[in-house]
Amino acid sequence: MTLPKYLTAGSVEEALSLLSQYGEKAKFVSGGTDLLMQLKRGEAAPECLICLGEIRELDFIAYDEIKGLRVGALTTILNVANSSLIQSKFSILAQAAGMLGTPAIRNQATLGGNLCNAAPSADTAPPLLVLGAKAKTTGVEGEKVVPLEDFFVGPGQTILGQDQLLTEIQIPNMLPHSGGTYLKQKRRQGADLAVVGVAAWVVMEKGVLKDVKIALGAVAPTPIRARKAEEILKGRKFDQGLLEKSGLAASDEAKPIDDIRSSADYRRQLVAVLTKRAITQAIQQAEGR
């Protein structure tokens, strides 16, 4: 194996210019926690490593009463989990970030890295999907903003072209009387990838579910929304029968596989259980506010 060159990008512009030179022969290094495994296993053999760590302009958490939350792609998972702003206004995201990996991994890993690695089990993805997040990408042809749902293409694959960089995650302001939670089933209490991850977010008004969003992780080629499960509850007064139906619908929408962490069957059953549980908790949160 020839050893890759190592180059440092000091700005988004520099990163893009290096990327345009090396194209698919280059790999970006952000926190490195996923990339290093790919290098060690020989799954990636880039000609060039482009270190993004010096791009301070992409390490930020900014909030605006009108525009909502913006998080730079190079913000560490720890800073997302520990941000008092995210904890108070977008708690589901802080909660999920705090469940990713181990404390040391969270120190290194970045939000952009977690999304660009595009693992179906990425812990930050389901909460961001239910929060209606958008991904801002920057390329030689300028900036684009796409719904995060459209960002994922398949395991390890995103819409990012040869000349684009994920620069920012945007989240609209939370509505009043809303609440959300992320539940992650693992094989053990300690650090582990999700067997199944479920995020639920609701808006409540006088016992009616004005809005419902459900997202599933680790049960399809990408993190997905469970729209049929959402529709069953949306606009309806909450009752246990509907909740059961919604859980089963989510289970139907999941397209899990058998792998080292779980069987597909177990995942399907878990989706139903966790969806019901997540919705119930989200409602409690929304009504408690």
Binding site: P4, K5, Y6, L36, L49, I105, A191
Partner: protein, 164 residues
Amino acid sequence: MMPELMLKINGAKYEVKAVTTATLAEVLREELGFTGTKMMCNEGECGACTVLINGKPMLSCMTLAIDAQNKDILTIEGLADPVTGRLHPIQKAFVEHSGMQCGVCTPGMILTAKALLDENPDPTEEDVRHALSGNLCRCGNYRRITECVLDAADRIRMGEKDDK
């Protein structure tokens, strides 16, 4: 490619040649002889290779050595007083309360605990367990390790000057 790296370890500067894909753990152990840093799973699961980079616990097996340049790296060798050899209060607590059995997880445990106590001098047992949740001990010595860290926190808060 085999560039010359400049690493700042335990306050001293080291120049070392290493391939671009070399991890910090490999360079520390194999090129520079800092074998106190343990390499176990080599895939970011166990925490044995934890070092402090700019004061924060990081996995040296998941960090490119070349990325660790111009940062302050603290390994277990740098924790005791360099002049007197006096142990750090966390190390002392581990010795006195048998915080280690086989010893392989110990450097990572102690450095992770140091980062915790630097940030939170008065942690609860829950705080300690949470902070150490990425450090696996295959001897299962977790209860005593937690006690060691809580004891070390007491010692540091009380300003106990290490008197050895």
